[in-house]
Symmetry: D3
Subunit: 299 residues, 6 copies
């Protein structure tokens, strides 16, 4: 079918869709002409970070200890360039002033943030090594740490979270959320970049896990698939809009275990070493060492 017969229909739709009133009134926050973050570039940012942190596992499979610095060097330089551009886009996106994102100060600030992120990479590697160790120790099916790094979706989700969380601390808007949502899409694990998570963190299987923005999670915590650490309700302001930034998600102290599909809601505290059974709904504090399970099923 040649498109010619339908040209009138098409050009009419184009005219309607190009009217300012059609798209600008509804999506009014987009400043005309500014660059937007690129999902593709951010994907590379994550891949480069992963290749730097786990040399030999990602990015170039046959690294040896004599030449590893070449590969890390090239990756670090490329990461710096890509991340600087994306941080500029993030800063522009949240900025009010249209001209800002082409000005030198914005780029200078973005480059400082990217350099600070790169300085953080050794600590990031150390932290992720604790997460890998926790996953390996906690899973009888794991054959090796390499298998954990290579295959486990929870490692992928935690890598993205820890990158995103650091960028958030460095003051980058929008980008952190895009990075955690990438992992969400790949793993079904949804960790908000604002959450605070300790060492030796482990999620088994992981699909359906939700960890909210103001969660605080200690060390050696383990979650199973389908666990929600969510908000119970949230106060609205005078305009009926939710008030931003209020602590509204749970605190999990060290060594807590939460079994599959449990839902923990609100700013409650699950005490050190507590165990939360599967498929239950928790809205009140659980003391240290406590244990809750579902009421018995009906046969």
């Amino acid at each position: 079918m040649s498109p010619l017969n339908f040209t009138h229909t098409l050009t009419q739709a184009v005219d309607e869709l190009s009217k300012d009133s059609s798209y600008q009134s509804v999506f009014h926050q987009h400043v005309d002409g500014n660059p937007l973050p690129s999902t593709q570039a951010l994907r590379e940012v994550v891949e480069l970070s992963r290749a730097i942190i786990f040399p030999g596992y990602y990015g170039h499979s046959a690294v040896n200890s004599c030449t590893v610095s070449y590969h890390i060097g090239v990756n670090v330089e490329q990461l710096f360039t890509l991340l600087t551009d994306q941080v500029v886009a993030g800063l522009c996106f949240s900025g009010k002033d249209r001209c800002s994102c082409y000005a030198t100060p914005q780029r200078e600030r973005a480059a400082e943030i990217a350099a600070a992120f790169i300085s953080y990479l050794p600590e990031l590697r150390r932290l992720l090594a604790t997460d890998v160790a926790a996953a390996y120790t906690g899973d009888p099916a794991a054959q090796s740490q390499g298998e954990v790094i290579f295959c486990y979706p929870s490692v992928r989700a935690i890598v993205n979270y820890r990158i995103a969380h650091q960028l958030l601390l460095l003051g980058v808007p929008l980008i952190p959320r895009i990075i955690t949502e990438m992992a969400h899409s790949e793993t079904g694990i949804d960790i908000h970049p604002g959450a605070t998570i300790g060492e030796y963190f482990c999620i088994d299987h992981g699909t359906g896990v939700v960890i909210g923005q103001t969660c605080i999670i200690g060390n050696h915590v383990k979650l199973y698939q389908g666990v929600t650490l969510g908000a119970k309700s949230f106060p609205l302001d005078r305009n009926g809009q939710p008030i931003k930034g209020i602590p509204r998600h749970p605190i999990l102290e060290d060594h807590v275990i939460v079994y599959s599909n449990a839902t923990i809601l609100g700013r409650i505290t699950i005490g050190q070493g507590a165990v939360v059974g599967g498929n239950i709904w928790v809205t009140q504090d659980i003391p240290a060492g406590g244990r809750v399970v579902q009421s018995r099923a009906k046969k």
Copy 2:
């Protein structure tokens, strides 16, 4: 290892796998030689639609209001071409007659459907703007509408659903389901294209949500992750095959909220403004303004 030593094994397997009896008896519905839909092309169909609906967010990041019609024009034309081809493939797939899909009438009908879909794009943009607004208003963690459009998996799932639903209404077989399954894979949200969903629809986090074929959902409804709107059971015909097309999924009226991992089954009605608590199993009507929660957990 050269493949030569194993040539006999390989050619034997090829012979066995190429026998008609091996593949035609089991997959007998595929009409020999007809084109099949292309997942790659349908992915582009969705990306083009998204670029047209959210100019500046997808497809070309630096659109300005003077040149936006160029970009929308090119995208609309390409969408028309790609969609026409895919609709032809969909029509052929479900057709009985082998020759049909190369005949002019089939292509003519496909082009009409594609043009009708393009005429629907302005309305689709309006509807999706309500969904974006609902997500932004309903999430204290959302920083801007732009962040919602850019990052939220629920927006991605609802875009695909609304495209697919319209194609279904236009009489296109197979394609709508492929489009919603793409979003299912990316977001863990499984909305059947046959479901009917009102304005200002919002899914928080989303992984594990299932919305069945005959669901009817009103305006301003909000679902959390892991919610199932499913069928309880379904009658079989005389051959033991399920009878197609019987209404068997829930009706959710306006302003209903369903919390995480709740399961609502069967052709029941959840009345206006009702709230369904998390991790529960609902198989009976809930009146307007009603509220159900899980029985207390056992400590």
Copy 3:
């Protein structure tokens, strides 16, 4: 921003990240210089297998019965080559000896395994045909077997599982897990390659399903989304490490149905024809024909 001003920061980070003490102590199992499996190549392995098993649905859309053997022949040969390489990488990964993976015997063994896998393809096609039939028969929304093959995530997950399971039986390390995790990422269905699963297996919707390493599942079993077949707890050895390989996941006999978000834990047996209701937590045997549901919700 030119990267020049930050060169010192970058080179310092590179030096720190390239130190042996930084990465080798933590990720010590990776033998220097050996090849690692390639996710990209394994993705092609799965796609080629799928194209061979479902001719006309994947890989080349217009196959006809006269030329099908050409396409299957080329695909089988390419599958053999790719799979041999990946099996070598898998064998090296788990090996202790650094030189082993370039030696001829390793490649010879890998080629034998790849050839054995190819000989298994006709049986794999037969098994998958039963799974497709089960999905089609069990879903009133399914329009055709073709739609099931094309769109249903459960088919995708089961294809990957059955490939991975066979490779595991043939003695391949690591690779099987990577293959099932690919499907996990795409579908949210997490089937361990070690599980044993009978014919006519069907998962509806699927997101959030977890099937553990030592599960045994009979014929004609059906699971809904969010179902966990997991371990309750696992014994540790003297070093506090979990003991590998102990049977610790459920046995589901023929014709069992498990509804959405149910969690079944431990080496228990769900008897033939039993029905497990949604959103419940099961840790004890259910007799043949038994039925358990959640206790009533509280209004």
Copy 4:
């Protein structure tokens, strides 16, 4: 620099360039909306033909005699499809009637031509084998026939010419010239598809060779680089346009050798076994066995 400041300049240029009067009056032969040949597709047509003719040298480097039919089969089928489409585009390009190229008869004719071309492939292989043999025998620097097939630009140019010439004989417009111009670009050898060339044809080095439309070249002819077989002058019609199709290029009988940069012009005959020296200008017949060289240079 944001493009915004220059938007007016750009939109003005777009308006001017989009006016019918600007492009339609000058390029008036292009029928609105018809498909045009694709250089990319024609490149694949040539590569597929080469892979079929020289199995193991192009397209798939490790073919063995047991599986070669799989590869040839797949390549032949793909060649048929691609070539049919391109022949349609060629027929439409030269057609007067706008609708013709979507009508079934045009596609039917194109498919017949493509099938006829495929039936010609065995003869094409035989012919090219004589050209390879001639190049190998005639060059002391050639190490093997494989090196000739792999490296010699003359082989590349002659492959394209022989493909193009056959398509021309089958009545395909435009496409043959595109195919020879591809080789012209890659090798600097410009053979018009209309020329008639015998067996065992050989061009050494080749850059700058020109062989005109109405040339007739016998068997065992050898040309060196820079040789022109051109037209001397051509009669004009009453409108001052050159008259098409008049024989105006040289005839070279069997076993002629022409050395580098010689220029032979007009419908003259170079007799059997004649030798033409380098850097000379020939506009008159040379008898069989004749020999001409440049007049002596001046020191």
Copy 5:
């Protein structure tokens, strides 16, 4: 073979090659850290220009007159962006000051140049239409203007030359030469961007043609393959370096024809309507209407 055994050799070579003394002393003009032009981007610049000038022939094969402005609009905008970046790189390359190329004024100037180039496109189209007409009229083998646009290497070379020449007039360094060298590589026609060439310019076959920097060519001039319009000798300055910019190439007046492989050297004038025979060496003026041919060959 693992690279491990050769690590010492490799790292030693890297050390030697990374020494400043090794590469900076010899290639000293490259300012550390500045961007360089991208051949890939310039290739796109040429392709976009070609798509804009010949709508329907390049870039998108099925343009129709209702939607042509969409395509031209998108192409013009993209051309502006790409060209601005490349002009910046060109300006930096020739600049002395390292910081200059990140400063706003450089980008502003580049954008002005790019906009000026875009304003020139309608005139460029008009000029090229005369070249296409000359090629079509002058070649009895040409079937249509479309064939000329599509297939003739001379059109490709002249397009690149005319783009490059205009960029040179606009003050862009380096880039013009890269653009003409692209065409040189593809066609064997080497036109220096500094040459001045009138309307209705035509090169037949073209391989081996060289047109020097200070050539002046009138209207309706025709060259055949292998023609050189070169310099005879050039004066050196006191340091023995050639003096730049002195007129040293021929002037060809209107309606001159030069046959294949003729070499015309020095600042001489070939008068209006003169004909230069093939394979000769001309270093003195030829009067209007004159005719020179090679001395007779020796049999």
Copy 6:
């Protein structure tokens, strides 16, 4: 057009083309199942070498002196790997024994050759710097050494030649010729890898230049476009095959200049500082300081 109607024609052609007698008798030298060199990989070999030799000009445009060793390191390692594989393929190609190319000794030898080539890179850079200097000094149109490196086809041709020549000296079959033919295709300059060429070598414009296998060229030699340094005739052995390896091409001593389209044939010597005029045919020695030009043209 569905391919179905023509299936018989296609399968018949496939059968004929797959017969051993059709392709094995004519192309008998190809050992069944051995790998062949990959043009794509060799293209990368050349690009990596170029990026290492001219840091900042090729491969990564913003290298600075602090990070240059990272880039060179990564490129050297990758070059080693790619080159080793290609050398193996080259050795197998010329080998008689089918099994040889999978044996460890072949790979070991290939790796030694690749390492030796890498050790040669610093010397290669030094040599090429003299060629760049010669081109810059000798061309009044050259604006900078950077322009010469970036744009001049002669540099491209000489880079490939010098790489190929060194590989030939290291005993690699086939590959060197493929590498020089790549440059031949891109530049129209055909230098046989066996030729011996001194420092400060320069080719102006270059299209059509041919330099034969046994040429010996001194330092500071300059050639113009279209120059042939060829063989006059070559003795045949008893079977009528040309005898390989006999010196049969010219010797050019230091500071020789050869103008465009001159043809110099046979094992003659052009003495130091001699000048050969354009478009002439030279088959006898020219003494040092000599000068020959074409006999005067006829008006």
